[in-house]
């Protein structure tokens, strides 16, 4: 294993899976490998992919770190944005204020967990309900219509740059690069791995583990907010229930991407590859009229399957290493 907790096995396995899934779908329906379809896969995968980046850092920080409120933050952020836009604020101003709100929402999680020492699963479960409720109150349960907002705003979710979705080129990839650098190239990243691996050791080394973790919740709130904004621009609509499924799927993606659920291992690179796998499978199943009732089950099968395939492989590799030494 790499010093920073990066392990190559899972990313390779995910690449193989992504290729196999795309190949499998193409066998039955060759039309799926078209720019239009790949474009759609990217568009639908990006929002959950962004959220999963934040979730990776949270889980990586250890101490049972998890953020169950990501979907609720995305929904609430979307609703806040919608209300601000309906106040006739210029859209960049409204987005700026929404991003600030996102930092606050993540900050509330951070304070609850790092300051008041509430276990993350309880703290974020509480904020999940709180944020969801607040979003409902702000909308009165009604859909906020954003289809008549500035085309420039709508382009955030519907535009294209050099034939690629704008949100991929201008938002997701830069975010991924920034998170990868943060995790693997900075002191903060190394401190995060140490905090995730051994809380006490980190403290004794003069690192404030709880502060490092607090920062991950704030970042997670921020990317969830960005995902909410992109979703609102894509659909021209803000809804309190916009990203409800993101709460759990983001965790599934992080785990599939090779981040240990107990912290201290994993990488946003793995998370990004897992997003690609889930994106292909999700879209491919819809494209082939696969009964959606079973689609959630397929994600479960993949999650278990990857571990079943990986365990013997890792065991074999380790035994060869010890034998070789």
């Amino acid at each position: 294993m790499h010093a920073s907790g990066f392990d190559r096995t899972r990313p390779l396995l995910l690449l193989v899976m992504a290729a196999a899934a795309l190949g499998g779908f193409a066998l039955g329906h060759p039309g799926i490998v078209s720019t239009q379809n790949l474009d759609s896969m990217a568009v639908f995968g990006i929002e959950i992919g962004m959220i999963a980046l934040g979730q990776t850092l949270v889980i990586c920080g250890g101490d049972t770190g998890i953020d169950l409120s990501v979907g609720a933050i995305a929904g609430l952020a979307q609703v806040i944005l919608g209300r601000l836009l309906h106040l006739d604020l210029a859209w960049p101003v409204a987005i700026g204020m929404t991003l600030l709100a996102g930092l606050v929402l993540g900050g509330i999680n951070a304070v609850a967990i790092s300051w008041f020492r509430i276990p993350p699963i309880i703290a974020t479960l509480a904020t999940l309900f709180g944020y969801q409720g607040l979003a409902l109150v702000l909308t009165g349960g009604i859909n906020i219509d954003l289809t008549h907002e500035s085309p420039l705003f709508l382009a955030i979710g519907q535009g294209h740059v050099l034939g690629l979705p704008l949100q991929l080129v201008a938002l997701y990839l830069p975010l991924l690069a920034a998170f990868a650098f943060l995790q693997h190239g900075t002191r903060f990243g190394r401190a995060l791995y140490l905090a995730g691996t051994n809380d006490r050791a980190a403290d004794l080394a003069g690192l404030r583990a709880s502060r490092i973790r607090a920062a991950t919740y704030v970042l997670c709130g921020l990317v969830s907010t960005i995902a909410g904004i992109v979703g609102a621009a894509r659909l021209g609509t803000a809804r309190p229930d916009a990203a409800g499924e993101a709460n759990l799927i983001s965790i599934a993606i992080v785990v599939l991407g090779g981040t240990g659920i107990f912290g201290g291992t994993g990488s946003v690179i793995g998370t990004a590859l897992a997003t690609v796998v889930i994106g292909i499978v999700d879209y491919g199943l819809s494209y082939n009229d696969f009964n959606p009732i079973y689609q959630a089950g397929v994600i479960g099968v993949i999650l278990i399957g990857v571990i079943l395939v990986e365990n013997p492989f890792v065991a074999w590799r380790d035994s060869r290493r010890t034998n070789g030494a």
């Binding site: 499998g24 379809n37 021209g236 397929v298």
Partner: protein, 337 residues
Amino acid sequence: MAEIENHDRRARRLGRIGLLAGAALLAGAAGQARAAPPTIAFVPKLIGIPYFSAMKQGLDQAGKKFGAHIIYQGPTTASVSGQAEIVQSLINKHVAAVGVSANSPTALEALAKQAKAQHILFYSSDSQVNGPDVALRVQQTSNRGLAYAVMDQLAKAIGGKGDVAFVSGGPTATNLNAWIALMKQRLAAKYPGIKLVSIQYAGEDINKATQVTGQLLSAYPHLKGIVGINSTAVPGAAQAVLRAGLSGKVAVTGITDPNSIRPFIMNGTVKSVVLWNPISLGYLTGWGIMQELQHKPFHKENTVPGLKQKVRYFAKTRTLLLGKPLVIDKSNVSLNF
């Protein structure tokens, strides 16, 4: 040592089997061929509930009769994003027509535009999409027709006078509030002897509706009738009336489906409820799209082969209106939706 190796091998084999099964699953799902008749896709709010299964039944009948291949595909929860993803995949597949029962009136406008640009007919049925790119809307019944029919059933059940209460779903639900306003209007105009004493809200929750109705029954001992405004309120209210031993003394009616209310109609607590027929709605949708695809214009009043009633068309909003609501009583409660 041998044992460990054995275990290892088995684990590896299991992994392989899993992978093969997964690949087979994907390949199997992928085996679909394009058929010669036009493909009409319908994306309901969510799948797996009897209401939309009934709409599918009607669509399938129309598909068989008028020669279309029907795709029925939707999200498992009433999710806007899930619906958008499925609609997008259907557009990318270049079906002849794609439509929805929309989870949001605005969130699919961009996709409707995209469909139109690719010469795919975009329609909405049951719950509509706004905007100029929707080629056809199919509406079950007018709000007015539905609300008035419920008040007529109520008046019939309580003999035209007495105190009544409403149990609704969410206090902010647009459609429910529109119905309540129209019901009040009907009472004021036609049944001055009926007095609405209270409106309570129980969400989409049968148990809550039972609880709320129980409270109404004790707060207003002279209550003659209870109207459930949404599909869970009616069976919930009927349960409370039955439990209080007031079957036959306090009338229960409202807007709900036969599956929810069947036991209460069979035991006499409820005489009749009102809804539209989702099978006919699906059928009419299928017919309407085929007309559009064959470029046959609609008239103000249309005769649809296989439907008894005449169907009106409103050119301004491109809307087909199924027509009068369906009164469900002992004679037709066996309808499955």
